[in-house]
Amino acid sequence: MNIKLKRKVENYIFLGLSFLSAGFGLFFLFWILGDLLLNGFKYINIDLFTKDPVPPGMEGGGLKHAFIGHIIITVLGTVIGTPIGILAGIYFAEYGRNSKIAKIGRNVVDVMVSNPSIVIGAVVYAILVKPVGHFMGFAGGVALALLMIPVIVITTDEMMKLVPQQTREAAYALGAQPWQVSFHIVLKAAKVGVLTGVILGVARISGETAPLLFTSFNNNFTTFDPTKPMASLTVTVFQYAMGPYDDWHRQAWAASFILTFGVLLASITARYIIQRKKY
């Protein structure tokens, strides 16, 4: 009788702890999102998007330079990273499915996807920024592309593997060349999944700060020229949040709110599409 009771009590204690830990996770999620909503939403106004910053310490001004810079750098990263990622993914899934490169490469890519992003920033600084002599938006794009590629490779590889083998055989039976099978048949069948990988990659890079600190750096003015230093939302949030002015803090909250909900929306959409594909 005693043992029975002890087992029951133990059961409830540990299951209770499990409930508590789920509560812990959800508590912090809602706390962070709630704070962002409370502090960020009310500071969003038209000036934030249409005005350049005013000199430090003065009220007013906006983050137009950072929004534009952020979009340009993210687009650059996506344009550079997507084709390389998809091509490598196709090789892993189709051409070299059982080759040595694919076998080693898959493990390496899985490792690289969690690699410290600040290290990538330091490397791009050494390769691009130092030889040219100044920070530039383009270098930021390259750093982000390098961070995005592993995400795209993994998703492309997985999504193309989901295409049934019979589809490929049917195409071969009609006399298609291997490249035609890969590009016209398999890639087309898996295009939603591959596109989702790109969205996941964009979601990942648009929240990155560390690699941009040493590459695109910052700029107080709006610029469209990727060979110049360029402001981004994340670096600006870093600068403003660490700075001493209340007006900076307000703008940092507003920018964080937009950034976070944009990123979360993109990743929820991508996950939803992938889940639907898999079943």
Partner: protein, 318 residues
């Protein structure tokens, strides 16, 4: 006949071009990229390596840009301490969350809860940092830490951890925020592993009269042990390289923390704060040396986690 041969040759040429293009993309991503990273970091840090020597750099606590004396022990220890504490907090909670998601949550709500936990991983790290600076640091500095000092200072052994002036910019808040960031990675790995356990194993245990917790403790956890270890190591790898959240909260003071309330520095904090300010070649090179150390450690840690995770897959997928 001629035309057909020509078309065939053209197709073959096309085929080879594609093979080369795809292969070189794969080669670049899968093999060359980490090599390029390693080599360029090594090249940039060679000045510091030659000047200070590897062993000397790793054991020296100097960090003096004026005297041009640099050592990596302090940021390295800071990285290890923050990672260790964050993993210590995150590990039991992540396993708890995984158990909740697999065994306790109502089936209909499972996707909702999983997505919610995964959203924690989607929040950009700078947001964690800023939120930590504006919300957590004042809360801890003004309320929680003074309370801890008051109540635990005189407890032997533990008391030492709660000494010093509570500011909220210290080891404690950094580790806590870091742990929240790595929880989703570990819990999603453990959850996937739990889901891979064949239901017949669970059902057999239930049939023998085991309680839910006994099934978890004696069936699920032993079977998935290598995956749990893999998830743990993965989250360690994530925590090692985390930059922005830590930069806001660590305080960037070059000292090995003696209590939980001491400000400190890590490799990533040193890089983020000092990289663009480094004005001498040896200063920059020392920072690159730190980056190289970080890259090598995280690469091996993450690779180890990959090996651990593959073990379970091999066991059950055959």
């Amino acid at each position: 006949m001629e035309a057909r041969k020509k078309a065939l040759n053209q197709a073959k040429l096309f085929e080879n071009v594609f093979k080369v293009v795809l292969g070189s993309a794969a080669l670049f991503v899968g093999i060359l990229l980490p090599l390029v990273i390693f080599i360029s970091l090594y090249k940039e840090s060679s000045l510091a390596i030659n000047h200070f020597g590897v062993i000397n750099f790793l054991t020296s606590t100097d960090w003096d840009p004026v005297a041009e004396k640099f050592g990596g022990l302090v940021p390295l220890m800071g990285t290890f301490i923050a990672t260790f504490l964050a993993t210590l907090i995150a590990a039991p909670i992540s396993i708890g969350i995984a158990i909740f998601l697999v065994e306790l949550s109502p089936n209909k709500l499972k996707p909702v809860f999983s997505t919610a936990i995964e959203l924690l991983a989607g929040i950009p790290s700078i947001i964690y940092g800023m939120w930590g600076l504006f919300v957590m640091a004042p809360l801890f500095g003004e309320k929680i830490e003074p309370w801890l000092t008051e109540n635990f200072q005189n407890v032997p052994l533990v008391g030492k951890l709660f000494e010093g002036s509570p500011t909220g910019i210290d080891v404690m808040t950094t580790s806590l925020v870091l742990s929240i960031m790595i929880i989703p990675f570990m819990s999603s790995v453990v959850k996937d592993a739990f889901n891979m356990v064949p239901s017949i194993m669970r059902e057999s245990a239930y049939a023998l009269g085991a309680t839910k917790w006994e099934v978890i403790k004696q069936v699920m956890i032993p079977i998935t042990a290598s995956s749990i270890a893999g998830g743990l190591i993965l989250s360690v790898g994530r925590a090692l390289g985390e930059t922005m959240a830590v930069t806001f909260l660590a305080g960037n003071v070059n000292q090995i923390p003696k209590s939980l309330f001491d400000p400190f520095t890590t490799i990533t904090v040193a890089l983020a704060n000092q990289f663009t300010e480094a004005d001498t070649a040896i200063y920059l090179s020392s920072l690159y040396f730190l980056a190289l150390i970080l890259f090598v450690i995280s690469f091996f840690v993450l690779y180890l986690s990959k090996i651990m995770l593959l073990r379970l897959e091999k066991k059950w997928k055959v």
